[in-house]
């Protein structure tokens, strides 16, 4: 038995740098692709979204209103339908954007129902969820159990409706990812976005 103040390594995560074959890796991603990223705005992810092989994307947003997403949609070569789950909980005027509005899901079960609903309505599409970090914290060990049913339900819906799910999970700094649910998602990918100021002359 270890003394109380000593620590032992419980897991080691290996990352592979993929820069050229990103499209292939996304295609091979299976039913559920978990994307760990450091993006803050929707536009930061535009390049990644353009690499998705299917033309139709359902983007379920828990963290960005449709109004904030809309300007960047023009830069995408995909047909993106936004499901805005945040505006109705904040804005008193009925939002009028060309998207679907839903109330913010309270539980992972509610979340999986929304994913199931849109995968049924839009076969052969990629369903993005922004962001899984609203429900799960991979730095905490208890995330493993609570996510099992959610991923099982999503996987089932993806298979039935010929869709693929992309779960976005945002991280900041060196945040631990010790409970990434390897057994439930088919593939994990990291997207590291660097920013620098540009002088336009």
């Amino acid at each position: 038995m270890l003394p109380a103040n000593e620590e032992e390594v419980t897991s080691v995560i290996y990352w592979q740098d993929v820069t050229r074959e990103v499209e292939d890796r996304i295609s091979e991603g299976g039913d559920i692709l978990l994307v760990i990223h450091n993006a803050t705005d929707f536009s930061d992810l535009a390049e990644f979204i353009n690499k998705v092989p299917f033309r139709t994307i359902i983007y379920i947003s828990l963290t960005k209103t449709f109004e904030t997403i809309q300007p960047a949609l023009k830069r995408l070569s995909k047909n993106v339908h936004v499901v805005d789950c945040i505006s109705t909980s904040l804005l008193s005027e009925a939002p009028k954007g060309k998207c679907t509005y839903r109330d913010l899901p309270q539980t992972l079960r509610d979340m999986s129902k929304i994913i199931e609903e849109f995968s049924m309505a839009h076969n052969h599409s990629y369903i993005f969820l922004d962001s899984l970090s609203h429900f799960l914290d991979f730095s905490m060990p208890e995330g493993k159990e609570s996510s099992f049913m959610f991923f099982s339900n999503v996987k089932e819906a993806m298979k039935t409706n010929f869709c693929k799910a992309v779960m976005l999970y945002s991280v900041e700094g060196n945040q631990s990812l010790r409970s990434i649910p390897y057994s439930h998602v088919n593939s994990v990918m990291g997207v590291d976005i660097s920013r620098t100021s540009v002088d336009w002359e």
């Binding site: 803050t40 705005d41 929707f42 828990l62 963290t63 960005k64 209103t65 109004e67 904030t68 809309q70 945040i86 505006s87 109705t88 909980s89 904040l90 804005l91 008193s92 005027e93 109330d103 913010l104 309270q106 962001s131 609203h134 900041e172």
Partner: protein, 129 residues
């Protein structure tokens, strides 16, 4: 010294803010849901509230409406949130409720403290990003 209520369901964030604000000499109270906040807001009568936007239970609009019903709409609110708003949406919220600033998560604690102090000393008209 001011009375500041921290309303957030993430314990780590509540603890971080509590320590930082207490070090600045402020009195802090905490609530972990909209319901909990509304139950204690009259008794605490805070000068400023740091309000998370995505908590289980009541949504933000419901919380702000019930605060109005309690006659506490004058309390200054800073939204601390991962949610990205468009400028027009922020203006609309500011017109309707006493939201004096928006702080996006992840936040820098020193920046947050500066913005809290700014509001406690009178603030200005336009919330900063």
């Amino acid at each position: 010294m001011a009375k500041i209520m921290i309303v957030d369901d993430t314990i780590d964030i509540v603890e971080t803010l509590k320590i930082a604000l207490q070090k600045k000499g402020h009195e802090t109270n905490e609530a972990h849901s909209g319901d909990e906040f509304l139950k204690s807001v009259e008794e605490v009568n805070p000068d400023l509230v740091l309000l998370d936007v995505m908590m289980p239970g009541l949504n933000t609009r419901q919380i702000l409406e019930r605060l109005k019903e309690k006659g506490k709409e004058h309390i200054k609110i800073i939204l601390v949130t991962v949610v990205r708003f468009a400028d027009a949406e922020r203006d609309a919220l500011q017109k309707e409720y006493n939201i004096v600033d928006y702080i996006t998560k992840p936040f820098d604690v020193f920046d947050l403290l500066q913005r809290v102090e700014k509001q406690l000393s009178g603030g200005d008209d336009a919330p900063s990003q």
